[in-house]
Subunit: 153 residues, 2 copies
DNA sequence: TATTGTTATACTCTATAACTATA
DNA sequence: TATAGTTATAGAGTATAACAATA
């Protein structure tokens, strides 16, 4: 084991193996991000998952559950449970789609939109903490690079 | 629901809500990364988790299970199970630490080191696919920015 | 008293297959 | 035949608390 002095100086920086590994860095950054996101959303009765669904339901686009699943990289069966819960709380509705009666369009209610707005504001503060070490230019660069990876082609 | 033409053109790009959200982009990029990492490591009998532990055990540093837990952001009890499995396969050993007899130093065996080397090589190819949209400079920039988030201070 | 490793347990998340209704 | 939503279920991952050994 590292003695205390060395451990304290190395545990939180990146000179160990793996630290050049984009996959590892993504995993660790995401773990930190997810933890603070869920903490932030807790008081509103939301988590990262349910917030994402609600945010997409509040968008202009009329997205089906299948659309939500592929965009959020979830199995369609998980989307069922998420939409169920949000619907029971009166935050979203399932609208019929005359063009294809197999599908449900998921749409945020007035209450749902209000909650998303509130959640988005508190998340901005949390994200500001997460990205504290980056200036504005770096934040934009990071988002652009991540977008290329998250949405290939 | 989006009609087919609009959906096909938007599902895989980033013009929907959330797409400016660093937390969401991190989550989606990490999901893609984790999926390909686990696929790549499957034939070697490893996953992202067990590979991480093995890679750290193969490093010069003599890390305790507690060190592994905090570096990988895992609960110490999860590290027990991971080390158990790797030890049963003869890939790592738990060494006694005379300076603090409460701790186990986790060290890769000769076989463990050989497997890590093999895994690292196949992972390089996988990471190359994940980061296909980025040139070398962008890859270095991304790693540097992620490191600042993953290891604050 | 505090910390390391461990065990047990419950909870959440994830992956899979099968079913129905519609296309 | 193929797809959207749904249900059920099993497996993986995560979080928590408690305990013995050691500091």
């Amino acid at each position: 084991m590292l003695d205390r002095q060395r451990r304290d100086s190395r545990e939180n920086d990146a000179r160990l193996p793996l630290s050049d590994d984009a996959s590892f860095l993504l995993a660790r950054a995401n773990a930190l991000s997810l933890a603070t996101t869920n903490e932030t959303l807790g008081p509103l009765g939301l988590k990262a998952r349910s917030y994402s669904v609600l945010a997409l339901a509040a968008s202009e686009d009329r997205l089906s559950q299948r659309d939500l699943a592929s965009y959020l990289r979830l199995d369609p069966s998980q989307v069922v449970a998420l939409v169920d819960e949000l619907q029971q709380r009166g935050l979203v509705d399932r609208h019929a789609n005359p063009q294809d009666r197999r599908t449900n369009v998921v749409v945020a209610t007035e209450n749902g939109v209000a909650l998303v707005v509130q959640a988005r504001d508190t998340l901005r503060a949390a994200e500001d903490t997460l990205l504290a070490a980056l200036d504005t230019t770096e934040r934009n660069t990071l988002a652009a690079l991540l977008r290329k990876i998250a949405f290939p082609q």
